[in-house]
Subunit: 259 residues, 2 copies
């Protein structure tokens, strides 16, 4: 009987890009572990900024690892996208009911969705028709407080498990780093046109050879009140529905008429 | 006088993901070198499948390198996206007039646009409001014949240099690997929903420890005749206009009405 019950539970695949050891992934598991059978498969080291990278030039290793609360968990030497592929093909041997990625230490709003390993893992699941969501907290600190976001993560996961959704369902969820009492709730948004204005720090190494190190300042060019950046600034949790069809249909029509 | 003339020439930034040593980048430069001042900045080693990865955890090195025809060229130890950022900030000290990426050895149609370092480099330029295009030939071979595509690359680069375009202009161009006489010309398309059905080869290493290696079979789920996959199958050069606003507006409306 117990075995049968377990079979009927929804499977929730959890991954991230900050590695299996990050506090954020523990917070995510903690927020949803009562909603189904949670299986964790995450990178064995930080993979921030990996975007939608996949590993094609070398083999991947998969290791079963201990995880808080006796949750089934594995680490892998690949990218976040590799983790989702491996989980489906070699661990679960079927598609999970939903895939949740994060909670990322740091913002993935606006253009960050493109660079984010957290969101790329969720997008990979969405390409495979697995409803998925990436979660990020606007706090890079290792001591970041994930508590205020947990009930909203649970709310979103419940929604994802309960409703029939379109074939490719993907959310980019960002949580402001403020006290629980200040959070105004969820707000459905569009991706802001805001980005990092890059610069490189230019220095000489101990052998006198020049090197560059990426740095940058965040600038919001988008004054819309329907954007994720606006929502977060106003203490909402931003929820941006995301797609992977990158076709620019407006430009397509223009080019068809005027090449 | 000569100096003034050089200043007035458009600057064409060329990059790729197969590395500075790949035949494809030489073909791309050859196709457009008469249209302006070409500057090459490309990875010092292959970076296929890197997606929109950026290097944040270690420093970048930049080296001036020789290139066919005396073209100004640099190699970098970073990703394709790093190359574009470094070129704008540390080599050109201004935005180039256009950015061209490729020619990639292998297809970047359909869902490949998400994983492709070639397209991510072009997208990075587009985010910076630099009109850009990524080019790929449907032939992975080191002996691939880039000649038939050259006149179309030239045609696209001329178009990009001549017309006033929308702020973010980005094209994903794929060239079929067929004889020049068979190519029917350019076709403006949308991104097909076609992808790799992944599998992992599972083997034991010389020490008896298990490893996995990504493999996969390409499957087209999209029967539309307006897609890049259809165009390529019918010997057209596919041109997909690409955007980086990933908001799924249809799902956004649905969620706003029914959360």
């Amino acid at each position: 009987m117990a075995k049968k019950k377990q079979k009927e539970q929804p499977i929730i695949l959890v991954t991230n890009d900050d590695s299996i050891a990050a506090p954020g992934i523990k917070a995510l598991v903690d927020a949803v572990k009562h909603l189904g059978r949670v299986v964790v498969l995450a990178p064995d080291k930080p993979q921030s900024g990996m975007g939608h990278a996949i590993t094609i030039g070398h083999p991947l290793r998969l290791n079963k690892v201990p995880f808080d609360g006796g949750i089934e968990a594995y680490s892998c030497n690949g990218t976040p996208v590799d983790c989702v592929k491996l989980a489906v093909d070699k661990v679960l041997h079927r598609k999970p009911d939903i895939c949740l990625s994060g909670v990322n230490h740091g913002a993935n709003h606006s253009i960050n969705v493109i660079y984010s390993g957290t969101m790329s893992a969720a997008m990979e699941a969405s390409i495979e028709s697995i409803p998925s969501a990436g979660f990020s907290l606007l706090d890079y600190s290792i001591e970041a407080d994930f508590e205020p976001g947990k009930k909203y993560i649970e709310q979103i996961a419940k929604y994802m498990l309960s409703k029939k959704k379109q074939k490719h369902f993907l959310l980019n969820v960002n949580i402001p780093a403020v006290d629980a009492s200040l959070i105004k709730g969820l707000k459905i948004c569009r991706q802001a046109y805001a980005k990092y204005e890059e610069d490189f720090i230019e220095r000489a190494d101990p052998h006198g050879k020049k090197y560059f190190w990426l740095t940058g300042e965040f600038v919001n060019f988008d004054k819309g009140k329907d954007t994720d950046v606006w929502a977060l600034k106003n203490n909402y949790i931003s929820v941006v529905p995301v797609q992977f069809d990158l076709t620019d249909y407006k430009l397509k029509t223009q080019l068809e008429e005027n090449w």
